[in-house]
Structure formats: structure tokens, C-alpha cells
């Protein structure tokens, strides 16, 4: 059967580019090398949850209409709106995002992407203090200390460890996969022995207790091991934390304190307290020692920092910690971007308007002031009078009060699947899957652009996001042109 090799996976910000697909009769039959999410996307794209035709809400329910009717209705809504929001953009190609910026400028709306609810604070932190970062290739080959802070790649970026960090075979650093397997086997053996002992089948007691790898009951020996070290800092023990050489469990909303403590310890300052955010200072001293003594370390951070108390201040201090560490050794920091092209959405928005997200075109020129021009705040204040949502699902992922305002005004949705936002929409466009049915460009979390492949043809009549946006833009321009002509004609009569 024909196989397509080196396919870039359009799911998360890791953009794994080694996927192998078996395609027959315009259908993906088998996925090789992908994670569970990748497999779910490549095998589920054709499922029963797709939107098959354009829909318009008539008498309270979504009714199938022609593409021309839907395009006209959407363009009419946008051309009539004073302050529309154009939100989403993170699961589509850079080419579609570029048309989106043009449309936002044309209608004087807000161009905002999903960064506003995830790594927007990271961008604000970077704008405050800059960012010492690198590509994932550098990390794969050279990093000997990996820190995941407030993120769980095993759940959100399943192949991140395997492709870029601890479990990858780099040129200068070796994979820790075998050591991890041994640790798992030893752990399983200990559990079995304990179970047998409880049942009374085994009577002996071990003279020396083996140290627990991921325990917070005492400073671990594992931080002094040879090879790559993996540290996880989180408010709960995640699967990634179970894989770690050292796991630090901090109290919720107190990451800022822990980071400031590490900054003090890295500068050899002494602390007067015994615990910070529930973590004994002696453990943090161990971590600070390993931070300073590594050859090349990297901090990956996620929503645990950006969505908890402190938000962009957490990121600012994390970057400052990395800056401090660069005085003593080599260190880099990188956000774990979620959607496969959210980085691209920031890049395209920045190169076209000067700002990476929450760009307001209502005054005729781009303005950027998250808190004022961010779609979330505009919705919560009830200011916008229409919304266009593309390649995202705020219906499911925005807080209730924001969605309540969104659905009280005309809502246009462009998405391949019938998601929560599409169910709430007034005009719904089915679109082709970028990276499966349409080619395009996407940016990996380390800002490396990669080409997305087209492996199958889209269903008949289903257009790519870029095409739908271009048609809406043309129609908006036509409506505006007609309106400009109308007063002249009336005056002439």
C-alpha cells in the first residue's frame, strides 16, 4: 500500500515531522510513529463529527445553505459590525492567518489568537526582559539538564521527551530511556515485594531502603547521577513527574516564590526560612546546585505558570532566572506551545501588524494593549458586536461569561468539526483540515517553520480556510464599495 513519509503532524506545537501514513483510496488507513493524539487526528478527521455543508441559523436551528449564501451572510455581518473580534488562528496555516490580518484591517476589528488564553503572558514576559532561547535541535544534542515547569508534556506534547529532550539520542548527550525503564522495573519489583510482604508470603525486611526516585521526603541522589537529568516542578504529580529524576511539588499559585528562591540560591544568598511554597529550602538548594553545575540546561514552561497567580510576572522571573544562570553556565528557556501553529499565529500577526496577538485595528492602524484590546477582556466587558472564530473552540475553552456575550451577538465559525463554538454559531463554514487535506506552513514551538503536507483530497465542496477567508474578504469589499456608491446615487436622484 502507498505510504507517505516525513509527514508533519498537525496537532501540538512539537510538530513531529517523522510521521508515516498509509494512504489508499483517498483515505488514511494507518499511522506510524505518531502519538495517541496524532493517531486520533489522522484517523478521526473523516469521522461523523465533520461539518458537511455551510450552515446558517434560521428560526433557532442551523440550516444547510449554499456556500455563496453563507459567504454573503458572513460578509454582511462583518461589514455591518463596528467592533468585531476575529479569534482563533492557531490550528490553521500561516497563509490563512495572513488573509485574516488583511480582513481584520479591512473591517477594523480585533485580530486575536489563542495565545491570549495560553502563552499570552509568556509573550508579555518576553517583551519585558527578552528571552535566551534556542532550537529544539540544540537541546536534543546538547542539553544535560531538562526542567519542565508547570507543564505535563506526557499529556499535551506526548513525543516531546522522546524527540527533543531526555529520551532522545543526541550527538553529545545520550538517551535516558533505558535508565528510565530500569527505574520502572525496579519500582514494579519493589511494589510486588511489598505486596507479597503484606500478604505474609515473604518475611524478610530489606536492611537498607532503596532511595525513592521521585520522592519529596528527602533530597534525592538522582540529581547527582551521570548523564541527562530531568526535573519536573508542578502542583501535582503528573505522568511526566513520575519519569523525572526529581519532582518538586509546589503549592498552587506559588511558583513565583519558588523561582525567586532559586534566583537567590543561584546567587549564593542564604535564606532565613525553612520552606518556600511548601518545599523545604534544602531541596531547592539541591536543585540550585544542579542548575549551576550543568553544562547546558533548559527550562520548558507551560500553563502552570501562565494561568496561575502572577501570570506574566512568573514568566518574567523565570527568564530572569535563566539570565542569572547564563552568568555561570549555559541555559535556555522555551514555552511549550499548545496548538500546532499558535507560534505561527504570533509570528504572522507580528510581521504584518507589529504585534503578536490582541491587535486592535478599530482606529485604522494597529494598536496593542492586552487587557484592553484582548478578545477575552473585550468579551467580558461586552464591547464587541460580532465575532468570527476560526481554527479554535472558544465555546469550549473560554469562561462562561465570555461565551455568553459572544453568542449574544452574530457569530461566524470556520472549522472542520462540529465543535462547541460551531454548535453556538450563526453562520458556520466547513473547512478542510490543514496538514491532511490542505498544505501550508506552520511554526514549531522553537520558531522553526515546517511545511505541512496534503495527503488526501478534501471532501467535495469543502474549501481550505484561506479560500473561505479570501471569499469573505472579497464580499466585504464589494459590500463596502456598494455602500460608498449608494449615497452618491441617492444625492443625484
Amino acid at each position: 500500500m502507498p505510504t507517505v513519509k516525513s509527514v508533519v503532524c498537525p496537532v501540538c506545537g512539537s510538530l513531529c515531522d517523522d510521521i508515516e501514513l498509509t494512504v489508499e483510496n483517498n483515505e488514511v488507513l494507518k499511522v506510524k510513529y505518531g502519538c495517541a493524539m496524532c493517531e486520533s487526528k489522522f484517523l478521526g478527521y473523516k469521522g461523523e463529527h465533520r461539518i458537511k455543508t455551510p450552515l446558517i441559523r434560521k428560526n433557532g436551528s442551523l440550516t444547510p445553505v449554499s456556500m455563496d449564501e453563507a459567504v454573503h451572510k458572513a460578509a454582511e455581518i462583518l461589514a455591518n459590525a463596528n467592533y468585531p473580534i476575529l479569534y482563533g488562528w492557531s490550528s490553521t496555516s500561516c497563509e490563512a492567518q495572513r488573509v485574516g490580518v488583511e480582513l481584520a484591517e479591512e473591517i477594523g476589528g480585533i485580530m486575536d489568537n489563542t495565545a491570549v488564553v495560553c502563552h499570552g503572558p509568556s509573550i508579555l514576559g518576553v517583551q519585558e526582559v527578552g528571552i535566551p532561547t534556542c532550537t529544539l535541535g540544540q537541546i536534543r544534542h546538547r542539553a544535560d539538564l531538562i526542567i519542565y515547569w508547570g507543564c505535563d508534556p506526557w499529556s499535551a506534547h506526548p513525543r516531546h521527551l522522546e524527540r527533543y529532550t531526555s529520551f532522545t539520542e543526541g550527538r553529545f548527550e545520550k538517551s535516558e530511556w533505558k535508565a528510565y525503564l530500569q527505574k520502572v522495573k525496579a519500582g514494579a519489583g519493589r511494589k510486588k515485594l511489598a505486596s507479597l510482604r503484606r500478604g505474609g508470603f515473604v518475611r524478610f525486611q530489606p536492611r537498607v531502603q532503596a532511595p525513592q526516585a521521585c520522592s519529596v521526603t528527602g533530597p534525592p541522589q538522582t540529581l547527582k547521577k551521570e548523564g541527562r537529568k530531568l526535573v519536573v516542578i508542578d502542583v501535582r504529580k503528573t505522568m511526566t513527574a513520575e519519569m523525572a529524576d526529581y519532582f518538586i511539588q509546589v503549592e498552587p499559585n506559588k511558583d513565583y516564590e519558588v523561582m525567586q528562591t532559586l534566583r537567590a540560591l543561584v546567587r549564593d544568598q542564604e535564606l532565613d526560612v525553612e520552606k518556600v511554597a511548601g518545599v523545604p529550602v534544602e531541596y531547592l538548594e539541591e536543585v540550585a546546585d544542579s542548575l549551576v553545575s550543568c553544562e547546558f540546561g533548559v527550562i520548558f514552561f507551560g500553563m502552570g505558570l501562565t494561568q496561575s497567580a502572577g501570570k506574566f510576572r512568573n514568566i518574567e522571573v523565570a527568564i530572569s532566572l535563566v539570565r542569572d544562570l547564563n552568568m555561570r553556565t549555559n541555559f535556555a528557556i522555551m514555552p511549550m506551545r499548545g496548538h500546532f501553529n499558535v507560534t505561527g499565529a504570533n509570528v504572522v500577526s507580528a510581521w504584518q501588524s507589529g504585534y503578536p496577538y490582541s491587535v486592535d485595528f478599530s482606529l485604522g492602524y494597529p494598536r496593542y494593549n492586552p487587557g484592553e484590546t484582548s478578545s477575552m477582556d473585550v468579551l467580558l466587558r461586552g464591547e464587541n458586536d460580532a465575532s468570527l472564530v476560526i481554527a479554535a473552540d472558544p465555546g469550549a475553552n473560554f469562561p462562561k461569561r465570555a461565551v455568553q456575550h459572544m453568542v449574544s451577538k452574530p457569530l461566524i465559525v470556520i472549522d472542520p468539526h462540529m465543535n462547541a463554538t460551531a454548535m453556538l454559531g450563526d453562520v458556520v463554514f466547513p473547512s478542510a483540515f490543514v496538514g491532511i487535506e490542505v498544505e501550508g506552513t506552520a511554526y514549531r514551538m522553537d520558531h522553526v517553520p515546517l511545511p505541512l503536507k496534503k495527503v488526501v483530497e478534501p471532501p467535495e465542496g469543502i474549501l481550505p480556510d484561506e479560500e473561505i477567508l479570501k471569499r469573505i474578504l472579497e464580499e466585504v469589499r464589494l459590500i463596502k464599495l456598494q455602500r460608498m456608491k449608494q449615497p452618491v446615487e441617492v444625492a443625484a436622484q
Binding site: G44, V116, D377, D393, P399, V407, N419
Partner: protein, 139 residues
């Protein structure tokens, strides 16, 4: 009065976290209207000790309430470790029925670290996505 260890409490004050799980990731790629997504997101991970305090067993329904609203979810024991005082709901419309929308004036809501209350809700059903959207947004 000295409270007995085994006494079942009516309500528990906890900190609500929301975030990703691999099941939620697989469900969202399958389709938001799929049963996989419903099962992955209409649940709440709880500490086993906290569940015992409320007299809950695995898969019992609970009512999670915050100052933003309340939602009925299926309580599941967190398998990895103890996390007393914490509950974890995967991202989705069920989590957003109760999560804080405070943006700290920078646009990003506080999806993690919201004070919440949990109480048993036997006899009450977990709403499907359609039902939940209908009850919250009238569509």
C-alpha cells in the same frame, strides 16, 4: 465536638485546577461532539482521601461550585499520587462552567488555582455537551 475520622462531610473546600490530559487530547482530535471527548472532559480528578471524606466512590457524581457557577461531574480518584485539597478538571466546557474569568487585566483567565467547593451529587446527571451549552447559552 471531636469529629470522628470516618465521619462523612457534606462539602469540601478545595482548589480547582484545570488543564490537559491525554484522554482530553485524543477526544478533541476525534471530535468535540464525540463520546470520547465527553468522557474525557466531564470528570474531575480528586484525591482519594478527599473522596473518602465525602463518602464518594470512584465514578460517583459530584457538584463542583465556584463563585462563577456550578457543574455536575463524575469524580475519579487521581491515580498518580495524593493531592489533598486539589481537584483537577480537564479543559473543556464543563471546566469552563466553573473556572474563574479574572484576567488580571492582561487577557488571560485564571484557569488554575480557583477556590471551589465539592459536594456529592448522587441522583444528579452529568449534562452532555449539547445539554450544557443549551442550559448555559440557550442554544
Amino acid at each position: 465536638m471531636i469529629r470522628s475520622e470516618t465521619m462523612v462531610e457534606q462539602k469540601l473546600c478545595v482548589t480547582l485546577l484545570s488543564g490537559r490530559t491525554i484522554e482530553q487530547g485524543v477526544g478533541k482530535e476525534q471530535g468535540k461532539s464525540s463520546s470520547l471527548y465527553f468522557e474525557a472532559c466531564s470528570m474531575v480528578y480528586m484525591d482519594s482521601g478527599d473522596m473518602k471524606k465525602l463518602g464518594l466512590r470512584n465514578d460517583d457524581n459530584v457538584l463542583v461550585s465556584t463563585d462563577r457557577g456550578s457543574v455536575v461531574l463524575k469524580a475519579v480518584k487521581y491515580p498518580r499520587a495524593d493531592m489533598p485539597g486539589l481537584i483537577y478538571i480537564p479543559y473543556g466546557p464543563w471546566a469552563n462552567a466553573v473556572c474563574s474569568d479574572a484576567t488580571s487585566s492582561i487577557g488571560t483567565p485564571s484557569f488554575k488555582g480557583t477556590p471551589a467547593e465539592v459536594e456529592p451529587a448522587r441522583g444528579r446527571i452529568v449534562l452532555s455537551m449539547e445539554e450544557l451549552l443549551k442550559s448555559e447559552f440557550g442554544r
